[in-house]
Symmetry: C2
């Protein structure tokens, strides 16, 4: 089979590998129907994080179960499944607390499982899925083709945007600001709207992303950034800032912008992978009683809640995909996202 | 009248000042019945923070209203009142959100009010109270003498411990760790118990404080600190740490200990005034989904909730006072707390 390998900055290749097989009785083998490139894949692509040796890459995919190990109970060949970006057993103490990303037996796509066996990554044709019962979520029926992009966002970006909103305590009367207009930020707008927020300010400088933000439920757009952007947010929100700010970038600057846009006593929900030496300014947080919560999203914990809304069309997060390419052109997908020609690119094996 | 002045490290004096009078129609003048020394008063006493010029000091007191300005509506001479450690109008947008410490017209004891007029501090005989309707809370009747210490804790330490517990989301099924065995940490134990937590681990090395922690509801005591203390907490709590950790010290080390003692997905509620260059380790927080909330406690917001429980004896936070001195001996009160001979010292003018 073919799968994507990153060799170093801006060096993305499709290479041949043996087809994966069941290695453990809790495994499944999944044929990928669709995968995609994540904003966090751009960190090694840009050389911001190091690629010490060639690595399989991609952590978002949906597909069809082809084979299951002898201990797999909840899945059968032919099932359409969503793969969260973290592998989890669903039974350990952390999973029971809903923090599947801290699973005691967990692993990551493209890494190694708890037995030291290599795990395939998502940007390929097939994947061996460890702990398949805990990790994968099957749809009740074969979904319509038009739903595939939306279901694919449940692997990561939609559930991650939702995690930002939940972590910031978004509810019916909440005023919300979203920092970041990538796919996660746009999904955070959609998640905030879904949770009942009516005033949602999206911070975005790009017309195409502003359009998606409005379609997802943003009531206001602020194009300015930094102190100027914060001043505009204060103008819009009672002169004090938002109850809840969703930080979906991960830089020191974006986090500071998020904190500055939060009213005293409000909450920052953050899901941007922290890049560089970002630490949190505790004296400012202390004086203003602004809390900070979030982190790497426990996607699996949210799928029972989010999946029905995608299946019945209540939300259509698949709109974040504005480019579709065959797996053979995965390098172009990275380039398109790196150059902001695409919000998020879907890959078909 | 006499009032306390800090001149520099370990230089605490009682000096004479003119009796305060009504300066604004929203003022009250209060005769102090009891005041006390705060752990945070020890920062300038120890020279950790600078005292650039002699300053009135003390921000916790209860007393009797002696005079009120023409616009004061809710108070009358003779009322017994509790003074939160922050002055607030109770009507601005931040006060309406329950964040009285961010009041648009607020001020601090020993500082200046919004009109630039000096404000008395608490460790004295009398205090001019700006924005008296917003700031002061009167008891329904004259309280019994035995209740005075408990009522005095509502100025700061009991309400601050409560803020830590509320910020960490403490409820009925929560496992709790309290870092810090000063008066605030001990009150945080009491607050967690009052909110329904049944498993409360108090981290304390001092036998006298361990006794108070147990009396306040601690189920377990951990005497070790740092990594060793965290390991003991993990031993006690499912191998994963606590749902909620209440940080009541304010050093970089105590905050790290609090974060390390929190299970993935749990919450740190912090009220220790950040000393030194403490920042929060965002990568660790991100990976473990540990959130951090709290700050300078909006005491006024909690008094309607806490006061009845003190008045009817449901809680007795006054037990944190283990030494009582006359105002003339205030310097000895600082020394006793500095040398940990006293948990908290009450002053009688």
């Amino acid at each position: 089979m073919r799968a994507t390998v990153i060799h170093g900055p801006r060096d993305i290749r499709v290479e041949e590998f043996p087809d994966p097989t069941i290695r453990r009785p809790t495994d499944a083998v999944v044929r990928v129907v669709a995968s995609c490139v994540c904003g966090s894949d751009l960190w090694p692509y840009r050389g911001v994080t190091d690629t010490s040796s060639p690595s399989r890459i991609g952590h978002e995919f949906v597909g069809i179960v082809e084979d299951t190990g002898s201990e797999v109970r909840s899945l059968a060949p032919g099932d359409f499944v969503i793969a969260p970006f973290a592998i989890s057993d669903g039974t350990c103490v952390h999973c029971r607390h809903g923090v599947h990303t801290s699973c005691a037996h967990g692993a990551w796509w493209g890494g190694e499982d708890e037995h030291g066996l290599p795990v395939d990554a998502g940007q390929g044709e097939r994947v061996r899925v460890p702990l398949a019962d805990g990790t994968l979520v099957a749809t009740p029926d074969q979904p319509a083709e038009a739903l595939v992009p939306g279901l694919l966002t449940l692997s990561d970006v939609m559930a991650t945007g939702h995690h930002a909103a939940v972590s910031a305590g978004v509810g019916a009367a909440t005023t919300v600001v979203v920092v970041g207009d990538g796919a996660v930020g746009l999904c955070a707008v959609l998640a905030a709207r879904r949770l009942g927020a009516e005033r949602i300010v999206a911070m975005s400088r790009h017309a195409d992303r502003q359009d998606v933000a409005r379609a997802f439920g943003a009531s206001d757009i602020v194009a300015e950034r930094g102190a100027e952007g914060v001043a505009r947010v204060h103008d819009l929100l009672d002169g004090i800032g938002a109850d809840a700010v969703l930080e979906c970038v991960g830089t020191k600057e974006s986090m500071q912008q998020a904190i500055d846009a939060t009213r005293p006593g409000g909450r920052v929900g953050y899901v941007g992978v922290p890049a560089g030496g970002a630490e949190l300014p505790i004296r400012q947080l202390f004086g203003s009683n602004v809390s900070v919560g979030g982190g790497v999203a426990p996607v699996r914990a949210y799928l029972d809640d989010l999946l029905p809304d995608v299946l019945d069309g209540t939300i259509d997060p698949g709109r974040v995909f504005d480019l579709e390419l065959p797996l053979a052109e995965v390098a172009q997908a990275y380039a398109a996202m790196d150059e902001r020609r695409s919000i998020k690119t879907l890959l078909r094996p």
